[in-house]
């Protein structure tokens, strides 16, 4: 299985953000980690192993991203208004950085595509 790691520095979050791309062809699937998890979450908790047949057969390719849950919604020491504001860069980043990678891999129309 081909695994490609991408990382970039986010000036909005003042930290590096990561993304793993598993596989090379097939339906692109964007995967969000469990609460407060990162782009290794699916691999560390056995989900990549569970999806291995689908990835290796070229049925899907998976993009796993970092969360910023712990710095936004689930941050115990933040007032909710700050939590809500902290979430915004995550969506902006997920959108502007992950999505182009995700979108360029789109193949012919299939059940999971619009």
């Amino acid at each position: 299985m081909q695994v490609t790691h991408h990382t970039w520095y986010s000036p909005h979050l003042s930290k590096d953000m990561g993304l793993n791309h598993y596989g090379q062809q097939g339906q692109p699937v964007l995967a969000f980690p469990a609460q407060e998890g990162n782009h290794r979450n699916f691999e560390d908790f056995g989900m990549i192993a569970a999806l291995r047949p689908l990835i290796e057969s070229g049925a899907i390719q998976l993009f796993t991203v970092d969360s910023v849950d712990g710095e936004s919604w689930t941050a115990k020491d933040l007032h909710p208004v700050n939590a809500a504001c902290a979430m915004r860069p995550m969506y902006a980043i997920s959108w502007t950085r992950s999505y182009p990678l995700f979108a360029t891999t789109r193949t012919s129309p299939s059940g999971l595509q619009g």
Binding site: L30, A34, Q35, A50, L54, W73, A84, R88, L112
Partner: protein, 132 residues
């Protein structure tokens, strides 16, 4: 919160995705920030904004998507079970097709079940030959 983000992304940006598979997800943020509310919270809570969504562009987009909302009835699956049922009712009222899959009382909020669920749904939904 992965299922929450997957669903929230789809319902906010339906033009960008073919669908979502949300496993054991919450669809609002009250578990984390209690009753705090502002526009950011509202627009990131499908459970709250979907009932009021009337924009035909968004509704037509969403009606063409593959939407899977799955949850178990075992340990640690509240409030996800309740919120999944609430989403099912909202989607029904909006005439947005969705596959609402309530798994059994032995299905807990934990990775071993998600290992079963995600390949199961992908294999059902993908047009490509199954690899199993």
């Amino acid at each position: 919160m992965g299922g929450y983000h997957a669903a929230n992304f789809l319902f906010r940006f339906p033009h960008a995705f073919g669908g979502c598979i949300a496993l054991s997800a919450v669809y609002a943020l009250s578990e984390f920030i209690n009753d705090y509310m502002d526009d950011l919270v509202y627009y990131n809570s499908p459970l709250l904004f979907l009932p009021n969504l009337e924009d035909p562009y968004y509704l037509d987009e969403l009606k063409r998507k593959v939407i899977v909302l799955a949850v178990g009835q075992g340990a640690w699956e509240e409030p996800m079970l309740t919120q999944t049922r609430q989403m099912a009712e909202i989607l029904r009222q909006k005439n947005i097709p969705a596959w609402i899959d309530i798994w059994g009382p032995d299905v807990h909020h934990d990775w071993p079940w998600w290992h079963k669920q995600l390949p199961y749904f992908l294999e059902k939904l993908l047009p490509t030959p199954s690899t199993s």
